[in-house]
């Protein structure tokens, strides 16, 4: 039963924990800070030894560079085909569509599973849970063959359809809706509201936290998705942002500044989402934990 040891007024344990917390903090944030400052630098300054964290003014004026040279390079792309905004649009469209359909389909299915007693309910629930065991990576080859059979290569349908809903989303929605007070539903039934309007006007508007968490999760998964677009989108104008960065980095290996500018631009939408809705990002993990129950 050793008591805590003290250095002055703080315990040794506290000092150690602060050191660890700060070291990890630096480890987590320095690469992001590096991306920020390097996106304004030219290759020479990025590779300078020792590294200078603030972009030097002299680099903006030399060789006709301006403050935004890197960003304009990132947007114009390798052969000035200006695919950046097109690909950004594709990514946004795919991510937004998938998060909307995931929320709608998963909540509908979760509501059906949570609040109705129909025959075969357990079977339906278990089958959907079983799909959680099938990783996307294991079925991408057959999906690729299906996509090419149905002429979905290089189309938005090809990018979106395999991710319309996720088993995990259904599960989350069901867990959340099980505790939804049945009195509301019965009251609405007495008031003569149909079953679908009850879902649409009573249930859906009342599960904002889980809708937001699930929507963000699904948005982020698609925003981050590289593997599937690599398979189905080969035409430049159908590529997504991860593919754009990947290609840009292959061809601009020596222009690190432009590469970092490209990475920074591509991260802005997620940063905006994160800093406005951070509680749902962090809450996502909490809901994930409910998987235990």
């Amino acid at each position: 039963m050793a008591m805590n040891r003290y250095i002055g007024k703080v315990t040794v344990g506290e000092v150690i924990s602060w050191i660890v917390l700060i070291v990890v903090l630096l480890f987590c944030l320095l690469p992001i800070a590096f991306m920020l400052s390097a996106s304004f630098m030219d290759a020479k300054q990025i590779m300078a030894m020792p590294f200078d964290w603030l972009p030097k003014k002299s680099f903006f004026t030399s060789e006709g560079r301006t403050f935004l040279t890197n960003f304009s390079k990132a947007i114009h792309g390798n052969n000035n085909n200006n695919m950046f905004f097109r690909n950004l649009f594709n990514s946004l469209l795919v991510a937004i569509s998938c998060s909307i359909t995931t929320v709608l389909l998963a909540s509908l299915c979760g509501y059906g599973l949570a609040k109705f007693r129909f025959r075969g309910r357990n079977f339906v629930f278990m089958s959907i849970m079983a799909t959680m065991m099938i990783p996307f990576e294991a079925i991408m080859i057959p999906l690729y063959m299906v996509a090419s059979m149905f002429k979905m290569m290089n189309t938005y349908a090809g990018l979106i359809v395999p991710f319309l809903v996720s088993a995990f989303g259904v599960f989350q929605m069901r867990q959340y809706l099980i505790t939804f007070p049945a009195e509301y539903l019965d009251a609405s039934r007495v008031d003569g509201l149909g079953e679908f309007p009850i879902y649409w006007r009573i249930v859906l508007p009342n599960c904002t936290p889980v809708v937001a968490t699930l929507g963000i999760l699904s948005f982020r998964n698609q925003w981050d998705n590289l593997l599937w677009p690599l398979l189905v989108s080969q035409r430049e104008e159908m590529k997504t942002i991860p593919q754009y960065i990947s290609k840009f980095s292959e061809e601009k290996q020596t222009d690190e500044g432009a590469l970092m500018a490209c990475a920074l631009l591509a991260s802005i939408p997620m940063f905006i989402l994160f800093f406005t809705l951070s509680k749902y990002f962090l809450g996502g993990a909490a809901v994930f934990e409910s998987r235990k129950g």
């Binding site: 805590n4 987590c28 991306m35 007693r117 990576e137 063959m145 590289l226 991860p242």
Partner: protein, 308 residues
């Protein structure tokens, strides 16, 4: 009597709506999960190729091939090794450090600071994997920051650690990128688990004169075991599916051999080389590995719950 029958039929009618609500999802999963995995299984028993559109039944030949032949220099055995090493090398440090950080964060006196740190640790998870790999590739450059900092720490000058060249270092590099991206996420999972432990238990321990260290080993850790097991399996599943980091590294000139994880081998074999049958066999093996782990996850989460 009449009344009873009536309510019964209303419930039946209602129940039908429930089934109706689940049908869209059921159809979706039938077409985009169950059909593909069955299809992958049957394709793995054929020599199907993308280019000449042949598809003959070859039985288990693909599986035998994967475990005996070199698959054009990038053997499946090597992929298993790379995936296993990556998974072990990433998820063990990640789970241990995430647990430590979560415990430290919970003990901070100011919740404001704790919230700020949580948010900061989580920030890398917001960046996409491609961006993460891009940033770290520049940091790992021979003249880059990581070499400078390592030299500073090791008290050497101008030494190149060969982060992207040496095959062992290359593996470590991919682990660092992954660790960096996901640490915050796992910290939050642990914090959720820790928050569920009633504070009364800690108070009792403090009153009894238990030190922090002692409290951690004897109280926090045993109570957290179910969460820890669950998080570990989740982290393992996550690591087994890694693709983007390794893909970005190889696309930018790193050697493929040391970091040729299963998903990347599936991609190269199936999509780049068009050997769909062989790639499907790899997919099925990956699926089986993950199936076992998921089964473990479910059985652990069912039986090992702590009651307070």
């Amino acid at each position: 009597m009449k009344n009873k029958i009536k309510t019964y039929s209303i419930e039946r009618k209602q129940a039908r709506w429930g089934l109706l609500f689940t049908i869209p999802c059921l159809l979706f999963f039938a077409v985009f999960s169950f059909y593909p995995i069955i299809n992958a299984f049957f394709t793995s028993l054929t020599n199907r190729q993308a280019l000449n559109r042949t598809s003959e039944w070859v039985g288990l030949d693909n599986y035998v091939y994967l475990f005996t032949k070199s698959n054009g220099g990038f053997s499946f055995g090597n992929s298993l090794r790379a995936t296993l090493e990556f998974t072990l090398g990433t998820f063990i440090p990640m789970v241990v450090i995430a647990l430590l950080l979560a415990v430290f964060l919970m003990q901070l006196r100011s919740t404001k600071t704790a919230k700020f740190l949580e948010l900061a640790y989580y920030t890398p998870a917001v960046l996409s994997s491609v961006v993460a790999a891009t940033i770290w590739m520049i940091l790992f450059d021979p003249r880059g920051l990581v070499n400078q900092i390592s030299n500073l720490l090791m008290n050497t000058t101008g030494r190149d650690f060969g982060w992207l060249v040496n095959s062992n270092m290359l593996q470590v590099s991919t682990m660092i990128v992954y660790f960096w991206k996901y640490i915050g996420y796992f910290v939050i999972l642990f914090i959720t688990g820790l928050a569920a432990i009633p504070p009364g238990i800690y108070e009792a321990a403090t009153v009894d004169g238990s030190s922090r260290w002692h409290t951690f080993w004897r109280i926090t850790l045993p109570l957290l075991k179910p969460t820890a097991v669950l998080v570990s399996i989740m982290a393992m599943l996550q690591c087994l599916k890694t693709f983007s980091t390794q893909y970005m590294f190889t696309q930018n000139g790193a050697a493929r051999q040391p970091i040729d994880v299963i998903t990347m081998n599936i991609y190269y074999t199936g999509i780049r080389n068009g050997r769909l049958g062989r790639a499907s066999a790899m997919s099925i093996i990956l699926f089986l590995i993950m199936l076992v782990l998921t089964y473990l996850q479910f059985s652990v989460s069912k039986t090992d719950d702590v009651e307070y």
